[in-house]
């Protein structure tokens, strides 16, 4: 079942035109997007799909961007009582041939202490930091405050 979902997901992901594509040895980033912020006092969020097309495990350790002083990868979890909380995700392993999805309600890039507002229609540079030192630079388009996914 899980494998079917994965295949379906890949099929759907492949059918979207990529908004940005970074090709470093073995890593492809697809569908990056960020929500516009209201001013610069609230944290921003960004989402994307990282594919490890290489033959070795890759470990994502964090992100860097000039947009925020404290960009971090966080994970939202919801307990049996329906209470959601966020916590730093720590290092994330991506097995060879697998992909990692950052999407609303789960893993996300949290842009804490914005240096400037995230303005709808603009985009910004973001670096995915990998343990092996082969970092990946991408451009993240900024969608509306109420955007739900990369397509709107």
């Amino acid at each position: 079942m899980k494998r079917h979902f994965f295949a379906l997901f890949l099929a759907i992901a492949a059918s979207f035109p990529s908004l940005a594509l970074a090709d470093q040895p073995g890593i492809t980033v697809e569908q990056p997007w960020s929500r516009a912020s209201i001013g610069d006092s609230r944290p921003g969020a960004a989402y994307l799909v990282v594919q490890n097309t290489g033959t070795e495990i890759r470990v994502l350790t964090g992100v860097e961007t000039d947009m925020a002083m404290m960009p971090q990868i966080h994970r939202t979890t919801t307990d049996a009582n329906g209470v959601s909380q966020m916590a730093p995700a720590g290092e994330i392993e991506i097995l060879a041939g697998e992909s990692l999805t950052l999407a609303p309600g789960g893993l996300h890039i949290m842009l804490m202490r914005l240096n400037q507002p995230l303005v709808e229609g603009e985009s910004y540079a973001l670096t995915l930091v990998f343990k092996n030192g082969h970092n990946v630079d991408i451009s993240v388009p900024i969608l509306g405050v109420a955007a739900r996914g990369p397509e709107n």
Binding site: A45, A80, N81, V83, A146, R148
Partner: protein
Amino acid sequence: MISRRTVAGYLAGSVALAGVVLAIGWWQVDGPGAAPAAPLRPLPLSEMSFSMQDQNGAEVSPGGLIGKPSLVFFGYTFCPDVCPTTLSDISTWLTELDAGAEQLNAVFITVDPARDTVAAIAQYIGYFHPALQGWTGSKAETDHAVADFRASYTLGEGPDYAVDHTSGVFLFQADGRFAGVIDLHEDRAQAVAKVERLLQP
């Protein structure tokens, strides 16, 4: 005639069986096999007794929602992931409703009144469906509201604190009775079906 030995054997067997049954019972009810306790149901809106301010600064209370079905969501405007996602979801459901969004109340209640003033909440909900209301109040009123909904929240620490909070959308019938919850990860079609069901007479 049954020998004393046989009786003793039956007795020992029964005691052992009872022990096993008790052990299984403990495992399923209180032990590691126990299902997680179901969250308590919110009070009917008619029995809630808090009052807050809406995005226009007007005094509002849950009793005022009776007459139309209601969707109620707890969150805070500094929430980067769950809250904008859920408010976008609610906005989409409202847009997709055949009967029209004015047939429903949709209320966002902040669990972070220190940062979410009336002005802050008004600006925030302005980015979502125009039918959305945003309520804020004192810390005491917020705690009262959270208790009446049997929800919970925990303020984080530091200047950039996050707030853990109940993230489901509470559903209420037009008469104020609790009608269920739409969870954060619930399928969109299923969520809209739940909202449509609220509107059926």
